[in-house]
Amino acid sequence: MIQAEAKKINVWYGDFHALKEISMTFKPNTVTALIGPSGCGKSTFLRLFNRMNDLISNFRLEGLITVDGENIYSKDAKIDEIRKGIGMVFQKPNPFPKSIYENVAYGLRVNGINDRKTVDETVERSLRQAALWDEVKDDLKKSAMSISGGQQQRLCIARALAVQPRLILMDEPASALDPISTAKIEELIFELKKAYTIIIVTHNLQQAGRISDYTGFFYLGEMIEHDKTQKIFLNPGNERTQNYITGRFG
């Protein structure tokens, strides 16, 4: 079974050829880590799956991206519908300056779901899934700006879970957090895998090793190697992968 797939992807920003002939598949209930030096295209690749690159004016794509078998770049695909079905967690926690409750409810409200009971239940379920419920259940009306950075990032994860996404994208979700908060996020990713499919961009190779089932190594816009994480780390098939994971460049 395949949850998401990229087929012969080429991306340009103006004249710059950012991604070259990339094909990759993602199985359900797995975590795939995308690694590689800065500027290698891994974030660009990640953002293809919820069409965030569309916001960049000279972006151009060739190839096919499917999620649940649906071509998300087809002519009649509605961009906000696509984004609703795919959760994204950003590098820096970016909670809205609203209450904790309203942050989680946001995805429902913009999609027209305002029924009190449904929203209440979704907020609780999402916060529980994001392992934040016990810490904030008495402060749901408090501003999201008043909790710690690590809690804010878990709130952003809860916010993404509230719309029951088919795929969760994470763009270096722990790089702005302290080690303890990072560990919590990693545990959480491990738990979420039971219900969701996750693609995560990370600069932290140990993190990729700890949390992912599959790893893709990107270099200069190409995907050099994509395999089971163990294989990539213990017995990489390509010399450049070997050099990168042993720290000889990057």
Binding site: N50, E81, I86, F96, P97, S99, V110, R159
Partner: protein, 285 residues
């Protein structure tokens, strides 16, 4: 003391002195106006009609007139300016059109106010046949503030972090939903403050109302939008340069100046207090 430390010390003492000088100039102006003007200001001065060739009585119709003009210009300029600011900052992609609109807005802001006055007279007073009236004066003042309102709105929107917009888009919100639910709630304290500050500016403008609304001497209150009114800045000009008895009207002129400056200061202080209050509120909820 080493040489670089000495140079640093001299530099900062100079900067400090210059900053103090700026404050000193402001304090001198305010002090001058206050000392000359405050003695004239009493209840009668604020609430009575001018009389005896403007040497006695008060400036009530000028205060009311300025109030009408400020309100009228804001009703016109705020919605148009704010919506236009939202459009250029949130909707327009970086293109020649956006740069062109920006350039035109900046140019509009740089046009001397007397030119606005002349244009207002040609368009509103003569061509549209509004005559010398509150409506003509308000529209002219509105045109003058429009670029300020647009720029203020754009600056306020620009200061909203893009990561918030991204977070909203990623949850399936449309652009309009994102603006309404995330961008504006963060930006509006700054927008409101900017708008109030522009009120201060409008209430002191003389040239745009000169040919469009301002009356030399009209000791009654307006009853409709097509009436002429007296206005504080123009009244000050009249008292200082072309009154019937300039020696006797001089104290009235300082009194009027004091009232005008006081209004502007009150408006500006309100603006900054309001901003602090609203920003705290945005953070809380």
């Amino acid at each position: 003391m080493t040489k670089k430390r000495l140079i640093q010390k001299i530099a900062f003492i100079t900067f400090g002195f210059i900053s103090l000088l700026v404050v000193g100039i402001l304090v001198t102006i305010l002090g001058f106006i206050t000392i000359r003007g405050i003695g004239v200001v009493n209840w009668e001065f604020l609430t009575a009609m001018p009389k005896d060739g403007m040497t006695k009585g008060g400036i009530f119709p000028a205060i009311v007139g300025t109030g009408c003009l400020v309100m009228g210009s804001m009703i016109f300029a705020f919605p148009i300016g704010v919506l236009s600011g939202i459009y250029t900052n949130e909707y327009l992609k970086d293109s020649w059109l956006k740069r062109f609109i920006r350039m035109m807005t900046n140019n509009l802001a740089g046009i001397p106010s007397i030119v606005f006055g002349l244009f207002g007279m040609a368009l509103f007073v003569n061509y549209l046949k509004f005559g010398d009236s509150i409506i003509a004066g308000s529209l002219t003042l509105g045109l003058l503030t429009l670029p300020v309102v647009i720029r203020t709105t754009e600056e306020a929107l620009k200061s909203v972090e893009d990561s918030l917009r991204m977070g909203s888009y990623a949850l399936g919100a449309t652009k309009l939903q994102t603006i309404k639910r995330v961008v504006l709630p963060v930006a509006y304290p700054n927008i409101i403050t900017g708008l109030i500050l522009s009120i201060g500016r409008v209430s002191g403008e003389t040239a745009p109302i000169l040919f469009t609304v301002a009356a030399y001497f009209l000791p009654k209150l307006p009853s409709s939008l097509s009436d002429q009114v007296m206005a504080l800045p123009y009244h000050l000009y009249v008292l200082a340069t072309s009154g019937t008895n300039m020696i006797e009207t001089r104290p009235m002129a300082y009194g009027t100046a004091f009232v005008l400056v006081a209004i502007v200061l009150i408006v500006n202080t309100t603006a900054s207090l309001l901003r602090r209050f609203l920003q705290k509120k945005v953070k809380m909820d």
